[in-house]
Symmetry: C2
């Protein structure tokens, strides 16, 4: 269940490393230079085709914003992971019809259901290098704050120009910490519908227990369909909309594949931190992850208490709960990987060898040497406020009531400015998404639950060093240094949640159109708190932007040194993941997780029977068990395995955001879906290991088997050109 973007916004910090073996999330344009290796691994299509975004297969690969999907029919049918469609299943679930548990299959197109507000399909149509535009916009002697603003302003201008083309969404993405910038233009399809997802017994078989684990037996697939207006333009949901017809769709393979075979994954990996400095790694692993882990444990506990299983609230918080489970396990993996792999000493050694290389040459000394100290000094500065940065940010942003109030007041203030001068997120182009978010909240907000965990965030915040406290917040709750009167706090929370109208969707949306003065006059306690915090929050934001501007000056120079050094070693360089379309390739391979144990690269239906206990999360359906007992394998039978393959391991380099990515064989056909990494891969966001980092895929043969024999999805198989013949 990893590999969605949500869980990976955890990553923040730096350390030198370079591509060896199957490491590398390559930009499509780099593929021609890797052609030799790809051909040696058995690639049968032209490697150059992988660099052309308008051609097959790249054009069929789409983003869901946090996940990846692929078109698999000319009628806009798209396949992704079950866990990427979980929000849509949640949105369409009621206490009577629990789609999260039972799955969903639309027998025909009219039965396909809106995936929920904010669901999007994004097709990358153009990528333009805008490094010079950004660089040219920054005054030569700009300080941090001015640099930050200059870059942001230029980005906004580029985006605004790009979005003149209706139906598109644009973004500027930095590579190598700002050494390069690209303007990414994506077609934005807004009418996304849920077509099919298997029952939880297949789609999340193994649940949190098996998450990140091998051997794995999860049927992590789901199908959406993209709809557009009858004129073929992106449009909001409307009954008369028609299926989008993509230029290309992937062919789903029944051919199968085996150990050692080449596989490629095309997708939108979110964030990696492969080039971070040792000091950043140290702070992240020795302070940040352990602290977050503790806090998330508490968050989960308050959530379990306040929204017990089976309650209506539990459905509302299902996605958050799963996200917390996933994040906690992720932190465990990070922390244990850090202890096991010696990443810190390796980062230090690489940094030392980089320094040695720089010092060995006068020109390099002049150009790069000061960069190392400058960057380390900036990192030390950041670390100085890490308690506040962590705990106040959760307090301010993860209590839904306060966050809504803060957003509404900020919106009213930003709206006073010309559009291009507004803070990103509050521009006209953002308002629709904002409205969707505020609407969707009715499915994910329960005041008693929100209060329960927000209360805990307040107590955690109160415990941080007093000199990092936010005076305006302390004043509101009567926090005196680290002292909180919990009785008073509870009384205050009681009256705030009782007194706020923000839990009501109509009220919430109505506030979107109000002026600052109207909000300042409101009696709503959360709006009043938002107003009270506004000035100091803005000051903190200004400080953070100034610091970020300084990073934007130093980090590119540092990365230029790293790149020059690694190129001198003859290693190809790929940039850290940044949510843009990437290609990674490798082979199907098991690994040795520990002394005396070898993990084989494929699992089979037999493993489902072995794991089945009859209790969640190992509760296979009677129907599935009967099919397996009867050895009903159909075309999905694999002779080597003696059964139907379920999941497989590969050496491809992926991370959150890659979820749902098509796994392609040497012909560019879909043979599986990437949906997770192994336990040892969790730390690979910082440090890739050829021996132990593995991606986990669901085999397309399992998907086709379940669609045919279990879920009666023959009409979808037909649509994909896989009808029985």
């Amino acid at each position: 269940m990893k590999r969605t973007l949500a869980q990976v916004s955890l990553a923040l910090l730096l350390a030198p490393l370079a591509a060896t073996g199957d490491e590398g999330m390559w930009r499509p344009r780099q593929l021609p230079e890797l052609a030799g290796e790809l051909r040696a691994l058995g690639l049968q299509i032209d490697p150059v085709s992988l660099s052309d975004l308008t051609d097959h297969p790249m054009n069929a690969v789409i983003s869901l914003g946090g996940c990846t999907a692929s078109f698999v029919s000319p009628d806009g049918l798209a396949v992704t992971n079950h866990h990427c469609a979980y929000g849509a299943l949640q949105y369409n679930s009621t206490e009577e019809a629990n789609l999260m548990r039972d799955g969903f299959l639309a027998p025909d197109r009219p039965a396909e259901r809106p995936a929920g507000p904010g669901s999007r399909i994004l097709v990358t149509v153009e990528v333009t290098d805008v490094t010079d535009r950004i660089a040219g916009a920054v005054p030569a002697d700009a300080g941090g704050r001015a640099r930050y603003q200059a870059i942001e302003d230029e980005q906004k201008a580029l985006v605004a120009g790009c979005e003149q083309d209706a139906g598109h969404r644009c973004a500027v993405r930095a590579y190598h910490g700002g050494l390069e910038y690209e303007l990414i233009k994506q077609l934005e399809i807004k009418d996304v519908r849920l077509v099919y997802a298997p029952a939880a017994a297949i789609g999340i078989f193994g649940g949190e227990v098996d998450n990140w684990m091998w051997p794995r037996h999860t049927g992590d697939w789901a199908f959406y369909r993209a709809y557009v207006s009858p004129q073929g333009e992106p449009a909001e949901y409307a009954p008369e909309n028609v299926p989008y017809r993509p230029r290309h769709a992937l062919t789903v393979s029944r051919r199968g594949l085996g150990a050692g075979d080449l596989v490629m994954v095309v997708g939108y990996p979110g964030t990696t931190s492969r080039y971070r400095l040792a000091s950043e790694v140290e702070s992240q692993f020795e302070w940040d992850y352990p602290e977050r882990r503790r806090m998330f444990e508490e968050w989960r506990r308050t959530l379990t208490d306040a929204a017990p299983e089976g309650s209506d609230a539990a459905i509302k918080y299902g996605t958050l709960m799963r996200g917390l489970d996933n994040a906690i396990k992720n932190y465990d993996g990070m922390i244990s990987g850090y202890a096991r792999t010696g990443v810190l000493s390796r980062k230090r050694a690489l940094q030392e060898s980089l320094r040695g290389w720089i010092e060995a040459d006068a020109e390099r000394r002049a150009r790069y040497l000061s960069t190392l100290e400058e960057l380390d000094a900036l990192i030390a500065e950041s670390v100085g406020n890490r308690e506040r940065d962590l705990f106040y940010s959760y307090l301010a942003r993860r209590g839904e009531a306060l966050r809504t109030a803060t957003t509404l007041y900020r919106l009213s203030r930003e709206r006073q400015k010309p559009d291009l001068e507004r803070e990103p997120g509050y521009q006209e182009r953002d308002l629709e998404r904002l409205k969707e978010r505020l609407t969707r909240m009715e499915r994910t907000y329960d005041p008693a639950v929100d209060r329960a965990f927000w209360r805990n965030f307040i107590l955690r915040y109160a415990g941080i060093p007093a000199d990092q406290h936010v005076a305006a917040f302390d004043a509101w709750f009567g926090i005196d240094k680290n002292r909180v009167d919990e009785g008073e706090l509870d009384a205050r929370l009681e009256s705030m949640y009782a007194g706020t109208g923000l839990g009501d969707t109509a009220t919430r949306l109505a506030w979107m159109d109000r002026s600052p003065a109207e909000i300042e006059a409101s009696e709503d306690p959360f709006l009043r708190l938002a107003v009270a915090l506004y000035d100091s929050d803005l000051r903190l934001e200004e400080e953070a932007k100034a610091l970020e501007g300084r990073y934007e000056e130093v980090r590119p120079r540092y990365m230029a040194a790293v790149i020059a050094y690694l190129e001198s070693l003859g290693r190809p360089i790929y940039p850290d993941a940044n949510g843009t379309l990437r290609v990674t390739y490798g082979t199907i391979e098991g690994y040795r997780p520990r002394d005396g144990v070898r993990y084989e690269p494929f699992t089979t239906l037999d493993g489902i029977v072995e794991k089945h206990t009859g209790e969640d999360p190992f509760d296979a359906t009677e129907a599935q068990l009967a099919l397996i007992a009867a050895k009903t394998y159909g075309d999905s039978f694999d002779e080597t395995l003696g059964s139907v393959p379920v999941n497989f391991l590969s050496t491809v380099d992926t991370t959150g955001g890659n979820s749902g990515s098509a796994t392609l064989n040497s012909r560019g056909e879909l043979v599986g879906l990437l949906f997770d990494g192994n336990w040892e891969s969790i730390i690979s966001d910082w440090d890739f290991s050829q021996e132990r980092t593995r991606s986990i895929h669901v085999d397309s043969r399992y998907m086709l088997w379940a669609m045919e024999f279990l879920d009666g999805a023959g009409h979808l198989l037909e649509e994909m050109g896989l009808g029985s013949d």
Copy 2:
């Protein structure tokens, strides 16, 4: 840590199965008929030599009573498992010198320490078939009770005759439920001394967590030495005693071995139940194991509460605690294996095919058909009292205070009879062992602890169906049907434990010489209880003997049918384990524990580093970690593995009692020690699986490595002929 006899007296019940593949605990005399297969597997010595108890290597293999050991030097040095010598480490431990934790090495012979009262080394010198003698002693029309007595009397007579040869210990063992009997004669060496055992950090590395598990990294070895009188006769411990010189000793190999190689294990497996009926299997797995498991959990809990870690009492109860841990895990393995392997339906199917074979032929019908019903009826009768049989027996025998009192009073009564008419265990030949047991109790008895768990046994007993209660016991504690007044119970226990003198060794031993009248006149509350229970306990014993006598009539007839049937299928037949010397052979092989996972047959030093946490039971010593980090491998390096092998898996068929057995290579040299089975092997006492049943061995190369580099045991290496050259 399995494979000692203590834990396996759990087994009680029946079902047909026969040897296939590497299954089979062969009687030495069967080996010549298996010569072809052994040679095909690579045996380089004469298979016939394995059937000669007086020749190498059989003569070097000895019993410790519950464990196996082997002579490895001409001076009586014997190697066995660390867990087989644990009692000796416990016996020699004090709060100042914790040998259980720190291990022990005698720098020279005078420093070798008595292994503790009751420690014995038994060398099998003669095995005689006495089937006809036993059969001839039973009157043709004997009922159950008479049959039981006739068999017991004849056994006692045979034993008495055999033990005329001073320094020997004899026993009659039944095969196939009494179809055959053998008289086993063993030289009994009574002066056994502790020579060397590694620290717990090696000897029980992984502890209970890793017990029954693979991959494994346990250095489960220890060394004893056998001492005899200066005249060369078995003798009690005396400083002037000299090392025993065995006729043969095993050669310890440095040669090493690899996957697929032939290995053999010679040893004293305790009990298996491979030929039990389906109804016995069902009662055992669906009632007995789950009930015992629950009771043992409670026992462990009361023990942990009453003898907390670090206390003097904790040392006293260390062995019991480890035994309970082991047994509970064993029950878990049994219960999960039963659920997983479908043993019951397989036993039923085999029984049906046996019935079909019998019914197909008139002579077979006449000879065997009634046997099946008769045996099933007996089993049903046994099951009818299973609550009392289980819970009252724990109550009567596992509270040490009551057990001692019962033993002493029974002894006084038995002593009224001529020696040959006494109950086994109370004959003159038994008194020395009895005295040792009553002496050793000072190291294993704490009244507060005994009381804590005995109290729990009483409560458990009180809960069984009232019609199975023992009236005399109920009367003593005022138990009324299932009602116990816990306040009264505690007051009674308080006064009993306060009033008894049996906690004092001198007092305890003095009672051994008293008459029944003297004991009946005693005020000691436990002796009074023993007297009060005597008549009804004896009645229960009489009933049990009568039932057993009926089994002794029916079971051999049933087994004759099974053997005839299996022979008709061309399968060689081995008898269930019964504590006699057996040979098993197989190959070094990993296995697939579950879908997607393969266990490799060897582990290495690297795995110790991986598992090391610094906390018990994964707390390797600094010295060991430093040696591994420095890649100090010496002659123990294995090129294929790239390190020193630690443990390995084989397909040989072993059970409790085999612990400490030498693992021999194709030349009959010692290449390791059997010390455990894998998780999937736990149920193999009932049902062997060629695919998943594996034995776990410590590789001799690891032992030699630790002796040389870590423990400074060079003088022992020299003695074994492995000095550096």
